[in-house]
Point group: D2
Chain length 359, copies 4
């Protein structure tokens, strides 16, 4: 109920603040018999690690994952799989000046009101370090999804006003990992990087959009009514820090289409039922139809900017605040593996739930 548990069968509980001993989590419902490839999990974590390039925060966090339970001889046992990543390299002093100050568009004010107190160091629970646990669990989910032939890939499709012109089908998504902004078109990537760099020099920040694609989905995952697959995906994505919007398939653009254009015509491809177009985004009536699931996730500009800002403190006095320290001018490049992780957890969970539906 307190919101740190996600999933129904593949159920993740996470913990950890920026400046506590560790961040981590427990996956309760990891299927047994899965090869738990720790190197793969670490490689996923490395993708979200700060300090990986000039356009991310210069913090250097090693973020080594350690598995505490649920694995024997490299195989998952079906019991809770707990993991942790120690917090290191903490500059608590960076936050001394905000103990009492509510940074604009941060969670400082709302946490203080909700809980009566807050851990001000590094944003406490609202820190970006919270996403470490998502990435680890997402990597575990991907390891299971491999057995179903399901892949999950995401990439940066927009930074500020710079957008990719094509849809996901126009790119080789794997190429996104070849540049630091994670955009599969090298030329556009360069422009995005230049924009982030410019914004960074201005001590400002910028937002962007991540596109995520799930391929190889079996038909039948997702539940009618409240737990439609798109509702679970929307929940998952909207729960990521800084996300402001979610759409799948035709999305917001679809509202301007006519039904006669938008309807995806069924046909047979060999013995497989397919659709000619895929405005449905691979989901019909809340249930996967076997076509690609694709979605777009909007991220706001990072709230932390290195300029003086007017604000209010805990005594309800109006004051100036100036954040120091090391921050991302744009969260989007590092959020790509986080979006993938949440998508992987969500579709795996839906696949597992679907096992219980028929006699």
């Amino acid at each position: 109920m307190a919101g740190n548990i996600f999933g129904r069968i593949f159920r993740l509980t996470t913990f950890g603040e920026s400046h506590g001993a560790a961040v981590g989590g427990i996956v309760d419902g990891m299927p047994s018999g899965v090869a738990v490839d720790v190197e793969f999990i670490q490689s996923e974590l490395n993708r979200r690690r700060p300090g990986q390039s000039k356009i991310t925060t210069p913090r250097d966090e090693k973020d080594q994952v350690r598995i505490l339970s649920g694995v024997m001889n490299g195989l998952s046992t079906g019991t809770p799989l707990a993991f942790e990543v120690l917090n290191e390299n903490q500059h608590s002093n960076d936050y001394a000046n905000i103990v009492d100050t509510f940074r604009p568009s941060h969670a400082d004010y709302t946490y203080t009101e909700k809980y009566g107190l807050r851990d001000h160091r590094g944003g406490g629970r609202s820190s970006a370090r919270e996403t470490i646990s998502r990435v680890v669990a997402g990597a575990l989910a991907k390891l299971v999804l491999k057995h179903y032939g399901v892949t999950v890939e995401a990439y940066t499709s927009q930074i500020g006003g710079i957008k990719l012109a094509g849809t996901y089908q126009d790119y080789d998504i794997a190429k996104a990992e070849e540049n630091i902004v994670r955009c599969p078109d090298a030329e556009v990537a360069d422009k995005m990087i230049a924009l982030i760099d410019e914004v960074r020099m201005q001590k400002d920040s910028i937002g962007g959009v991540i596109t995520c694609v799930v391929k190889g989905m079996p038909v039948g995952a997702g539940d009618p009514c409240f737990d439609k697959l798109q509702a679970m995906l929307g929940h998952a994505m909207m729960s990521i820090n800084a996300v402001k919007g979610f759409e799948y398939g035709s999305g917001f653009d679809g509202v301007e289409m006519r039904g006669s254009q938008h309807n995806d015509i069924f046909y047979m491809e060999g013995d497989r039922v397919r659709t000619k177009t895929n405005y449905s985004g691979g989901i019909q009536g809340g249930i996967s139809n076997g076509e690609d699931i694709y979605m777009r996730v909007a991220f706001k500009p990072t709230a932390t900017i290195l300029m003086a800002q007017h604000t209010v403190n805990a005594k309800h006095e109006e004051v100036e605040t100036e954040v120091k320290g090391r921050h991302d001018p744009c969260v989007v490049p590092r959020a790509v593996p986080i979006v993938e992780a949440m998508a992987a957890i969500t579709v795996l969970d839906a696949i597992l739930v679907n096992r219980c539906v028929k006699l």
Copy 2:
């Protein structure tokens, strides 16, 4: 797990197909001592009723709600509040020709694959009648929210390419109920109605956007991490049939802003902490900050169109299908009370959950 339960404290379970005996639901977690105003509930239901205007389906469904439990002498008792609406005026024969045919962009194919069989009559569980239960529960939630001074209002802000130019603050939302498309600007409403009418004559359909605003929220509702208030709202909205996208606050447009523009500066208004702008959409770190919560919900064009379409049947033969019967050329006007209902249920639930947070 099967997806027909929503909410954590204020928990709604729904049931019902288009052509069964009834649709309805149970609210488990209705606070005790609330005056259950059945006339108000019925008036909300009437807002979603088919046949209310020339731009909605000509079906005439009376949809009288009946409360079965949980109320004594007009007050909620705190025990489960069950309700039902009988199904009447069913034309099962309208569906005889689709027993075996998968209508494009409907749930026919996915239901059949998921469950091994499906109720083809009127779309079965994926029928729009499923939303009746949402509206009844939403009306109950609104009755509770009144005690908190919270209001929930929605309106049509876009139909096809016709959009309202202003934000929600530019309109008197109450005026939306004065026209059949539920748009608060009478002039724009006329254009929207004309467009829907045109599309209807073409036997086609069209989509649109609904904007929803929650005012008077107490500070502190919503939970960090996975159950952020925007994540619960996103889940709620994405679970409505035909919804393709959700955004709140600055939404997708926010990605193009700089942090220095987007950050909402705190100031004191008397003894209340306020923000000068509200790009945050009333939620920071997943928790309400007392400002208005506003969101936009995108609806695709109705899948049911009265034209012949190519498709596949249950024997996996390619066939033509032509749907007969009575349908909405645009679901948006009738979806306004549904969006309000889901928002009301979600914010009330978050308010109740928040009671358990402090010592």
Copy 3:
């Protein structure tokens, strides 16, 4: 959270007070493709019906179940299966004298304190009529369990001080349905009936024990740690009105045994792993081992007795109360199908959950 939902995959939500319009429930998670035999469901309901014999309450409630959704052409569709039983034959006046009085060992005082108000008519939600929904859902569970070859049977093994001497293996449980106290030994049954009759004449009441046996369980159902199969069964049984104790396998008597006696020795019976004794009660480490699951459930004497009692009223004055009306001097005979129902729901749920465990 408000406690009217039970189960994880096969999830039952119930509603209804004694004197509202109806009692009923929704099963969300009924597997699709099950033949929903309404006659069987009604026959199960008839087993719990009041007025069936001289030792039960003389109320005459027909209790006809009506299914509202989730079934087409006699098969479950996998969507929510809602059902209701109308309340009839209500003597609200019987309760006029207890509007304001807290009957001893009833829920009158605690409901009033918890909710601030209560439905005094017929015990409101704490009425025995609440169990109708359990029996209907239990019948649905039994219909599914048939496909697994699992049977659930219960019988009266003790009334007051009169006990069956043997264990469940010593009797043909089916014979329990041949007498009105539901005890499989006709001679002991006669003594039990005589005792209940005697107590009834004294306007008093008496308790008893029900033994329940689940045969044909597949190996592997039940989860380690908090949701051990015996924990779910304990939860299920302790949630029945008037139940004071639960034990399975060797139970309370097992505490006096030595490990060397109590351990169930494994051996091979053909290619099946069996145990020579079954003190484990068919569950080891929280997981079914394929042997019979057996348990005992203790019921207190009915709180409603037809004598004057001293008590306190809502104004906190000490008063005399005298309950009138029609009541069971012993709930045990009618509770037999309720115990079976809760066992059936619980083991089915565990079987379904177990589908998600392996890769």
Copy 4:
């Protein structure tokens, strides 16, 4: 769903096998503002520690708890409170001979069948070390309960055939901590210790009963229907390894009483509604009435005995097995703090849920 999560508002997720890196858990829903007294938590852990006396296993486990998150400056922050206890002093070789053998009345066979593989070392997840997490979370719950004036105390009331003659009111429960068997009557304690010692010398084991009492409960905790307070307590207790039975209030003995004896007569004690007797065990209609809650929990004799036993191995051959290593001849003395922990978690959870009930 996989059974390693307990509680609704105060929600505990646990992890850990005997021979993994650590055992531990996460409490999601710890109220904010509670002084987290680590010394108290450690002292509770020490009560369950092996090696504390001659009648417990001679293993020497230090079991130092470490808190990883959710606390700042000694106060809970309302965010997930994670903790871990490292596994040390593991003699994996002790288990080499049971890699492939199903020990009688252990979980070896059922785990293997359920998951397709199992961690054989030290019982894996079914190890008694799993209870460490329960005790830590229970200590946290007790720290919160202090603010409500609620206390939870348990003691050994029976070992084998040796029973305390009186009820909990006849003893000073605090005295139970003065002897190694945790029985509040020193004389009976001596007999119990002698019995355990005798059984230990015989390489055998023995069971017993723990009585637990909750005092100071506010009125109104617990929910009608499926989540009655006694059902939650029953669930909690039955989920402890080796528990075979649960009863509260009059329990199994109550079945032989007449209603006229068993009914608890209300009276006024000053302005407080009280009952003269308390056969109800402090709970009526599933809801606490403010009287003491008391319950009895039956433990079977430890399955691990140091004798040769006949059994079956993973190849389904009949074999002899002889367990070596260090084991408790009776789990009861060390289970006393575990029973308290589960009771504390359960009643706290019910108290928190009750905050959401009224308008």
